[in-house]
């Protein structure tokens, strides 16, 4: 689990990115960490991974202080960064070099995912496309069986079939003991994967909710016109009419449109805990 208490952080000669930031997430979740550019998503992932040290406050992940970079902690954390570099070696050599460093590494899972992603173990990593290399990293990360997996923009560079494969593999590979954090702008790519949404803006959490709570409270719909629809919390014009968010009533549930939800949150139309705002604050995005 992650326990962040009153953390402050700023890069050298820059204004504070996090000020008195707190977050608590239990294991067994796949968390979607969302936010606009510069909101602090990658910095938060770096703080959690132990790549940077907070200026103040405490971070505890699975009983470890990340920045101490205890080897037992590092053996249970795997981060797939947005940008990556590989030495000029084959996939199998890379696996041979790095897998022994992760005590729970599962080779069967790795080769199953390779098959799913159509990756050849003999291929040279530097001769693969960006998307293929990302798929390899995702496969390797999931096979480590680390208690915490951190993905920074995992679907960037993946083609459309690979994105759906990613969702399928993610759902089938993650166990109850693991905590997965996915930071992304491509919210549509992860909407069926995550079970918790955390939205940060200006170094603060502006929304935090479990997916099943959201479906109980909000109803996402596509309507030809807004006429006669009451309590529209947020709407966006689309080619077929309007995508809307309304309060869920009578136990009706819908699939979450994460992009619509995110825009609603960013436009301060929906807050956490959910509040119904007056109609004059609705924002239409054209």
């Amino acid at each position: 689990m992650i326990n962040i208490q009153n953390v402050s952080f700023h890069y050298k000669k820059k204004s504070p990115l996090f000020n008195d930031f707190s977050l608590e997430v239990e294991s067994g979740h796949i968390v979607g960490l969302l936010g606009k550019n510069g909101a602090g998503k990658s910095t938060l992932l770096n703080l959690i991974s132990g790549l940077i040290q907070p200026n103040a406050g405490k971070i505890n992940v699975n009983g470890f202080v990340p920045f101490n970079r205890n080897p037992n902690y590092l053996a249970d954390v795997y981060m797939v960064p947005e940008e990556f570099a590989f030495p000029p070696i084959s996939i199998s050599t890379y696996v041979k070099a790095f897998s022994p460093l992760y005590p729970n590494f599962d080779y069967h899972k790795l080769y199953d995912i390779f098959e799913e992603f159509e990756l050849q173990p003999t291929a040279n990593l530097n001769k693969l496309s960006h998307g293929q290399r990302k798929k390899f990293l995702i496969a390797f990360a999931l096979s480590t069986n680390c208690k915490m997996l951190v993905f920074d923009e995992p679907t960037n560079g993946l083609d459309i079939p690979s994105k759906s494969q990613f969702r399928k593999i993610m759902v089938s590979s993650v166990s109850e003991e693991q905590l997965v954090i996915i930071s992304t702008h491509q919210v549509k790519d992860i909407d069926t994967v995550i079970d918790k949404v955390v939205v940060i803006e200006d170094g603060q959490i502006i929304y935090q909710e479990n997916i099943n709570e959201i479906t109980l409270k909000l109803y996402f719909d596509l309507v030809p016109s807004l006429a006669g629809i009451e309590n529209v919390l947020y709407h966006e014009i689309c080619p077929l009419g309007h995508k809307i968010i309304v309060p869920a009533t009578d136990g009706n549930e819908s699939s979450i449109d994460l992009e619509l939800l995110f825009n609603a949150i960013i436009n301060k139309t929906i807050n956490s805990p959910l509040t119904h705002l007056p109609k004059d604050r609705e924002t239409a995005t054209k």
Binding site: S49, L74, A97
Partner: protein, 283 residues
């Protein structure tokens, strides 16, 4: 603190294996390149024409020592390329998250770059010295045939490590004493440690920045010397230093002691400094 968090032999072995699997081609090329370069340097440095008047000690221990020091720059470059993963942000994040303690990461680089590098360097130097000698001697014979038999082989002395025990053969042969011999080795070790930590301190233009840091350090020492000179020798003028050389009862001069003290103490600071800097390294 659990010592397993600090050092575990199995984890250290896995880390070494990881490094060798990732970089074996680079290391192999470095060894082959070093071997070829070493041979070329030695071949060119050894006299390929017999000087007149002929002296049977043309290429002796002192010439081999100069050659050895020259070749040490190659080892310095190899040691200076330690922690190559710390050269850019992407690689830094991968390296820092490798599941091993900072001490194991530091020790693995030290083992590969300094320990293994030095052993391989010594082997290459020994082989190259013998090969270059044979190549040069065969060429001398081919050129003028002035020398034949044992005389020819004495023209360039056969290399052996005991040659380095000789400190000077002028005016008489003197050997290094233990204290100064160790001090001499530690001087090179200190320089090696300085280069070893380059990447930990400087992400980009490491060697240039290290050069600047070295000049700044020397300048700082000079400034301190000038200040002390003014303090203890009031007659000192301007920027000159009152560096008076005098012989101590143990046969060393005060300046010898000063230099050897730096050589002996520098690694004690440089190694922990590099380790703690790596421990505190951030993205």
């Amino acid at each position: 603190m659990n010592s397993n968090n600090f050092f575990s032999f199995s984890r250290f072995y896995r880390l070494l294996r990881n490094d060798i699997l990732l970089n074996h081609k680079k290391y192999l090329l470095t060894i082959v390149g070093g071997f070829i370069m070493g041979f070329i340097v030695m071949y060119l440095y050894m006299p390929n024409l017999i000087q007149q008047p002929y002296s049977n000690s043309s290429f002796n221990a002192q010439r081999y020592s100069s050659l050895f020091i020259m070749c040490l720059f190659g080892l310095g470059a190899f040691v200076g390329s330690a922690f190559s993963e710390l050269s850019n942000k992407v690689k830094i994040s991968n390296y820092l998250l490798v599941p091993a303690s900072t001490f194991e990461k530091f020790l693995s680089q030290f083992t590969i770059r300094v320990v293994a590098g030095t052993i391989i360097f010594l082997v290459i130097f020994w082989v190259d010295a013998h090969l270059a000698r044979i190549a040069v001697l065969s060429r001398i014979e081919g050129l003028n045939g002035q020398l034949a038999g044992p005389e020819k082989y004495d023209y360039i002395k056969k290399f052996h490590w005991s040659m380095f025990l000789i400190k000077s053969n002028y005016p008489t042969v003197t050997n290094w004493r233990l204290f100064e011999g160790i001090g001499f080795i530690l001087t090179f070790f200190s320089a090696g440690m300085f280069l070893f930590s380059v990447k930990i301190f400087f992400r980009k233009l490491g060697l240039i920045k290290t050069g600047i840091a070295l000049v700044a350090t020397l300048y700082l020492i000079m400034v301190i010397m000038v200040c002390f000179s003014h303090l203890f020798y009031p007659e000192t003028k301007g920027f000159s230093t009152g560096n008076i050389d005098y012989m101590l009862s143990n046969g060393y001069t005060n300046n010898d002691i000063f230099q050897y003290s730096i050589a002996y103490l520098a690694p004690l600071f440089l190694l922990p400094l590099g380790y703690f800097k790596l421990k505190e390294k951030q993205l």
